[in-house]
């Protein structure tokens, strides 16, 4: 029996690592990968609550999160592909047209 608090702590730490990666990496593709890490952290907490409450719905929600992650990968990489056709590289610091 795994304590639910330990799972939530793991989920929080994984989410924080993903948040750090999203905010600090310069490569757009690795920023998207950091979003995947965050979504995975949320899945861990869904599974923990599903186990804790003996309720299958938490797992169904985690399945929905995985589906949204797949959509996010497709859309995000399509955007990166369109961006890399117009400029050299996928550095997020080069994309400042809408910044100011």
């Amino acid at each position: 029996m795994v304590p639910v608090g330990a799972c939530l702590a793991l989920s929080a730490v994984l989410f924080a690592i993903g948040l750090f990666g999203f905010l600090s990496r310069r490569n757009l593709i690795l920023m998207l990968v950091s979003v995947e890490i965050m979504l995975n952290a949320v899945n861990v907490s869904f599974a923990a609550f599903s186990h804790h409450l003996s309720e299958a719905r938490g797992q169904v929600m985690a399945l929905f999160v995985i589906a949204v992650a797949a959509g996010e990968a497709a859309i995000g990489l399509g955007l990166v592909l369109a961006l890399s056709r117009n400029r050299q590289g996928v550095n997020v610091e080069d994309v400042t047209q809408l910044k100011w």
Binding site: L23, S24, H52, R85, G89
Partner: protein
């Protein structure tokens, strides 16, 4: 620490955190993606430990098998040799460390509040595939259909955005 499940859980949790930390800090993008693969497989082990066999299978097949391979394929297709040579973090990365640390501390502290509902009645069938499938196609059938629409919109959007504009 006589419970073997607990020891396995702590191993999987430590390996997941180490993999995630390495994934966001490695210099070469391919190395990062391979560490994310390790993270996903360890998280699948955690799902197995929590009795979510179907979720663990989906994690390995869809996340590690499809999404991550898609990222790897894309990274190798774009072939960005300059990316590995450039600095990996932007100039404000200490602020990002601060944001992550504050978030983790907040969530960690939030666990101590007495909001956690009491554990449900032990139900040996609650995690298995048949109960998940029953929930998916009875009570949660409408969200399931909406997710299929989300995936359809993602497919169409990806095709539209990645399409090369051709003059007629």
């Amino acid at each position: 620490m006589t419970n073997p499940g607990l020891i396995i859980f702590y191993y999987l949790a430590a390996a997941s955190i180490a993999s995630a930390a390495l994934a966001v800090t490695r210099h070469k993008p391919i190395h990062s993606l391979l560490w994310v693969l390790s993270l996903f497989l360890h998280v699948a082990g955690i799902f197995l430990l929590m009795g979510a066999e179907f979720l663990a299978a989906v994690q390995v097949i869809v996340y590690a098998g499809a999404i991550l391979i898609f990222y790897l394929f894309f990274m190798m297709l774009l072939d960005l040799p300059r990316e590995a040579a450039a600095p990996r973090f932007s100039a404000h990365w200490p602020l990002s460390v601060l944001a992550g640390a504050v978030f983790a501390t907040l969530i960690w502290r939030a666990q101590d509040l007495p909001w956690l509902p009491p554990p449900g009645a032990p139900n040996p069938t609650s995690g298995n595939l048949s109960s998940v499938g029953r929930e998916l196609f009875t009570d949660l059938a409408v969200p399931f259909e909406i997710v299929s629409l989300v995936l359809l919109a993602a497919i169409v959007g990806a095709v539209v955005m990645a399409k090369r504009k051709t003059e007629p």
